[in-house]
Amino acid sequence: MEQILKIENIEKYYGSKSSLTKAIDDISLGVSKGEFVAIMGASGSGKTTLLNCISTIDRVTAGHIYLEDSDITEIKGKALNKFRREKLGFIFQDFNLLDTLTAYENIALALSIQKKPVKEIDTAVKTVAEQLGITEVLSKYPYQMSGGQKQRVASARAIVTSPKLVLADEPTGALDSKSAKMLLERFRYLNTECGTTIMMVTHDSFTASYASRVIFIKDGKIFNEINRGSDTRKQFFDKIIDVVTLLGGDMSDAL
């Protein structure tokens, strides 16, 4: 399978010389096209930092990240914004929708920033809304929607530009279990039916069990990695729980 994301020995330090924190300590990994990867770890394990580095929101201290052959640690300024809006899609824990815009306008914004023609925008928004089951709420404002609907709108905004890679940071973090399940079903649909490559950060085993591969991070290093293979979701979930147990007290909040 073609590798879409390749991370080579990246490191990220915070703080000054006297009190140095290694948020990421030599991590290397690869993501293939059409994969659905979950990154698990306790609070402070460095998973969000990793995601921020991949999403170019943060910069690495050392190492390289390649997305489709271009080294994103080398891109700067304007090109970085262009890269971000064309190649990546973001889903955040707290939705990050603009409260002054309707769902439709929120989704369309991702395309209008790319200065796409209106007609193209309209079809794209409607298609993606259908895929995520939010056609009815398109004309509503965020405050008129439930958490689940908001997150699906945010997801629609992330994938409407057909990004190479969708990055999700704790997408179910602010959702009730029913909405979370519904959202994850949609993620799996996007992954299997539309071929969207998704990389998701979570500390919730249930959420992680929807992925095809789970990478565990502890203290800025990769601790373990398991593939779903042909397991059912339930079996995969059990396997994840096993690893989490192995991780011990540090990850007890992940249950």
């Binding site: 914004n81 209008s112 200065k115 925008i121 309209d122 405050y143």
Partner: protein
């Protein structure tokens, strides 16, 4: 402890406070500068009558200061209430930590005192500096000698400023404590969870209201411009109220329509960050309809006042050059009687000779024919004109002058002489209003009967001209006739003596002539007389010009500051609230350039909306002002408008730039 907390609070919210502090400071300095004028002027070498004018000026300015203090007071209360709203979460924190309301009140009190003292001190310093510049302006207006000028500080103005602003800050403190005692913890804590309800107004209602307001505004415009002739006081007040109310409803409906309109233009709405930009603007305008109305009206008043003030000043100066071409002008009212006393005769009888003080002079009479009235001059059109201009005295007889006398005077004035044909007449006139009527009705060959003779009009129109010294173009019309029309027995209207002093020391010459005329006046049989001296006209017009300029500047500056400050506060707090939105846009890959452009458009449109309507109001308002100021002459309107625009651009534009750059730094990416 509370003091420390206050200090750190101010330091922390410096950005919010900066514009507030800046506005207070300008307010204080403007207040000081205008109240210090009389003190500044006292330092200059001025003549007696200039001091009188400055006394009048300072009385007028202190009256206006009360009004200005009211406006600034409202602005300060508005701004502090606004800043309080932004601190609800902070107050909630204090209260959950167990701080009593009394302590919070005291905390705010200390903050107000610090800000108040700081702004007073800074404002007074700036004011004292600026008032030195103001002295130069005063000197220029009164043509005073600046060589003996020293740096001056007006203690009186300082005391007054401190007193007025002290009262204002005291009101703010009371106001703040009331707000604090009314606060409820639960409301404070939930204040940031603002589930902003975005209600789009019903578009049909908006359009209907817009059309109604536009029509009402149009009618008001019409009443004060095209309907000027029939304008009564109650109609004028009615138009002003209609204008203000329609302004409110236009903002109300436009705020609803802008978004709808832009949204329907899909190609534009979904281009780049436009959808975000317009939503931001729309929500701002929606919550600011009342403030926008106030701002719009304040800018409107400012533009009209400033332009009118400069216009009066410039025109007066220019008028004097043209309309006072001689030093002295003495007039005796003879009222149709034969002259029993004539300047020359009295000179002989009383032994007072005023002619000896003049190097050159013209002495002549004007005549009246009771049958030749203004109405007669208008001819066939008189009836029609009478209907629409009821305030004109149509039956007053026309002033008549011999052409040789007129030409002699013109030689003295250095103006063009008339070449009057046999059996003809010419009307000279420079009062725009009657000139228009006369020009309309006067035709070449039109005949009039005067003193039993029939004369025909030599020209189609009136000729620009006048006979007496004046500050304004107020010659309503004089009929110039051939010398042979006037006989020994023709009834006299007035006697004129107009001339230039021999002496180069005009002030001294004026004094001498005054003494002589006073002597002449003692003769009680003498009848009413009037004199005009160029020196006096100069002083008076400088005074009128100065008062107009200072009043216009004072009120205009304060209104502009208030408008700019309200918009700036709102825009800055909106930017602070929107930081998260910009952060999000950045995350999904919006270019910094696009974000800045969006912010620029938001700030720009926000500042432009009230300005546009205010300028539109001003176009009609100025039209009205031009008509009202007709006698002063309004040819210099262009220059006045330029100066006004410069002041507007400087202050309003300054606030815009400060707001834009501060907003930009607020939304800047934090790394």
């Amino acid at each position: 402890m509370l003091f420390k907390l206050s200090i750190s609070n101010i330091r922390r919210s410096l950005r919010d406070y900066a514009i507030y502090f800046f506005t207070l400071m300008i307010g204080v300095s403007v207040f000081y500068v205008f109240n210090a004028i009389s003190g500044q002027a006292a330092m200059m070498k001025l003549d007696e009558s200039s001091y009188e004018i400055i006394d009048l000026l300072s009385t007028v300015l202190s009256g206006i200061s009360i009004f200005v203090a009211g406006v600034l007071g409202l602005l300060i209360v508005y701004a502090s209430r606004f800043l309080m709203k932004r601190r609800k979460r902070e107050f909630a924190l204090y209260m959950t930590l167990g701080m009593g309301k009394g302590s919070i009140s005291r905390l705010l009190l200390i903050e107000t005192v610090i800000i108040g003292l700081g702004s007073l001190a800074a404002g007074l310093l700036v004011g004292i500096g600026l008032s030195q510049l103001m002295s130069a302006l005063v000197a220029n207006l009164f043509e005073a000698d600046m060589t003996a000028y020293k740096f001056t500080v007006s203690v009186k103005a300082i005391t007054k400023t401190i007193l007025y602003f002290g009262v204002m800050y005291f009101v703010v403190m009371i106001f703040n404590s009331i707000v604090v005692t009314k606060m409820k913890l639960i409301d404070l804590m939930q204040s940031d969870k603002r589930s902003e309800q975005i209600k789009l107004k019903n578009p049909i209602v908006c359009v209907v209201i817009f059309i109604i307001s536009a029509i009402a505004l149009g009618a008001a415009y019409y009443t004060v411009t095209a309907g000027y002739q029939e304008l009564s006081r109650s109609k004028l007040i009615g138009s002003i109220i209609t204008g203000a109310v329609s302004t409110f409803f236009i903002f109300w409906s436009v705020s609803g329509m802008i978004l709808r309109t832009v949204m329907s233009m899909k190609g534009m709405y979904f281009r780049s960050l436009n959808s975000f930009t317009f939503r931001q603007i729309s929500s701002k305008v929606n919550t600011m309809v009342m403030s926008m109305t106030m701002i719009c009206l304040m800018i409107f008043v400012t533009i009209c006042m400033l332009a009118a003030a400069f216009c009066i000043r410039n025109s007066l100066n220019k008028n004097i050059k043209e309309l006072c071409p001689a030093d002295y002008d003495l007039q005796f009212y003879l009222n149709g009687h034969y002259p029993e006393h004539d300047v020359m005769k009295i000179v002989e009888e009383e032994g007072i000779d005023i002619t000896e003080d003049f190097s050159e002079y013209a002495h002549f009479y004007t005549y009246i024919d009771e049958s030749l009235t203004f109405e007669k001059m208008l001819g066939e059109d008189a009836e029609e004109i009478k209907k629409s201009y009821s305030m004109i005295m149509f039956d007053s007889p026309e002033k008549i002058v011999k052409v040789s006398d007129y030409n002699a005077l013109m030689r003295l004035y250095g103006r063009d002489e008339l070449e009057l044909e046999k059996d003809s007449f010419i009307v000279t006139c420079n009062f725009k209003f009657t000139k228009e009527l006369r020009d309309r009705t006067l035709d070449k060959g039109d005949e009039i009967n005067v003193f039993g003779r029939t004369l025909r009009s030599q020209y189609d129109d009136t000729v620009d001209g006048f006979i007496t010294l004046d500050v304004a173009r107020s010659n309503e019309g004089i009929v110039v006739v051939p010398d042979d029309v006037i006989t020994e027995s023709t009834p006299l209207e007035m006697e004129y003596f107009i001339g230039n002093y021999c002496s180069d020391d005009k002030d001294e010459a004026e004094k001498t002539v005054h003494e002589k005329t006073d002597e002449l006046m003692k003769n009680l049989d003498f009848g009413p007389c009037m004199f005009t001296s160029r020196q006096e006209v100069n002083r008076n017009s400088a005074g009128i010009g100065a008062i107009a300029t200072f009043v216009g500047l004072y009120v205009g500056l304060v209104f502009l500051i208030a408008s700019g400050a309200i918009l700036a506060l709102k825009e800055l707090s909106e930017s602070a609230d929107s930081v998260g939105r910009y952060e999000m846009l950045r995350k999904i890959g919006a270019d910094e350039k696009d974000l800045n452009r969006s912010l620029f458009r938001q700030t720009g449109i926000f500042f432009l909306i009230p300005l546009i309507l205010a300028v539109l109001h001003s176009v009609f308002g100025m039209n009205f002002a031009v008509k009202t100021l007709e006698v002063f002459g309004t040819e210099d309107m262009g220059l006045s408008i330029t100066v006004t625009s410069l002041i507007l651009a400087l202050i309003y534009g300054g606030y815009f730039l400060i707001t834009f750059f501060s907003s930009k730094s607020i939304i800047k990416e934090r790394k």
